[in-house]
């Protein structure tokens, strides 16, 4: 793979152009990572607004009709619903692993077997989340670099 970087202060916005003979799973994964860097989510802590880079978010979950964004150590409330977030982040490394949780696969350290046909996702900061059986295939497709319908 040839990598060319053109630095020009006159350029108004960073643009990434990927030229390839064919789009394979590895490139899809690279594209998902690049898309992440153009995304920012708005989170709130005690009425203060924060613009959170997507790659810093470990997972989002929904409790009592409220959506929360979790970084390595901080938690923010998000005004969007989990379904809206899931749709917005469809082309990134985020994937739904249960009815109330979508996870950033870039921070997923490993997966362990769990009871009742579920799996346990262990994140890079040691946190553990449950992957319910309905979403195991979705996670597998996301990791393979395929589209998640």
């Amino acid at each position: 793979m040839k990598l060319t970087i053109q630095q020009d202060p006159a350029v108004p916005e960073t643009e990434v152009i990927l030229r390839c003979p064919a789009l394979d799973a590895r490139l899809e994964s690279l594209i998902a990572h690049i898309r992440q860097y153009s995304f920012v989510l708005v989170g709130y802590q005690e009425q203060r607004e924060f613009h959170l880079p997507l790659e810093s978010i470990y997972y989002a979950d929904s409790t009592d009709s409220k959506t929360f964004l979790y970084q390595e150590q901080a938690v923010y409330q998000c005004r969007e619903t989990l379904a809206t977030l899931e749709e917005k982040l469809r082309q990134t490394t985020f994937v739904r692993i249960s009815k109330n949780c979508i996870i950033n696969t870039a921070v997923l350290h490993h997966v362990e077997p769990h009871f009742n046909h579920r799996l346990k996702a262990v994140l890079k900061n040691g946190e553990q989340l449950i992957i319910t059986r309905n979403y195991i295939d979705t996670l597998r497709r996301k990791l393979k670099g395929g589209a998640v319908s």
Binding site: R26, S29, L30, H33, T105, A106, L108, H109, H110, V111, E112, P113, H114, F115, N116, H117, L119, I136, L139, R140, L143, K144
Partner: protein, 139 residues
């Protein structure tokens, strides 16, 4: 091993169950006498699934703890049902034989589902490692 766990065992079980139920229904509809035993066992297996589903709401610390707790509950309940429906006699040799059979079947079912989950986890971990290697090479 993956095909054996994900395809062969389920196929054998589904086919066997389907054939047995069909045979029983046909025999019943034909007016021939049918032992209630298969229907009682089928009903009890459904109840065991409900017990398993209820127990999965608890957060066990390990598979061993989950296995011991569920197996103990199912053993006591199944023994009671077996005695009520006369699946086994209330004698020591019969109960010992019943217990050995229960332990064999119960352990096999737990092992089967644990292996399936482990294989699934292994597959996902391999995909994760490949993804992480790609990320390191790209950066």
């Amino acid at each position: 091993m993956k095909q054996f766990l994900f395809v062969r065992i389920p196929s054998i079980c589904i086919c066997f169950t389907g054939i047995m139920i069909s045979s029983l229904v046909i025999t019943l509809l034909s007016g021939w006498p049918v032992s209630p035993f298969p229907f009682q066992v089928l009903g009890w297996i459904v109840v065991c699934q409900v017990i398993d589903w209820l127990l999965c709401h608890f957060d066990f610390k390990s598979w061993l703890q989950y296995y011991l707790v569920e197996s103990s509950i199912l053993y006591v309940a199944t023994l009671a049902v077996a005695l009520v429906f006369h699946w086994t006699a209330a004698t020591v040799p019969s109960i010992v034989l019943f217990s050995i059979l229960f332990l064999a079947v119960d352990s096999f079912v737990f092992w089967y589902f644990y292996r399936r989950q482990r294989l699934l986890a292994q597959e996902l971990n391999q995909l994760l490692q490949a993804q992480q290697k790609d990320s390191e090479m790209d950066s």
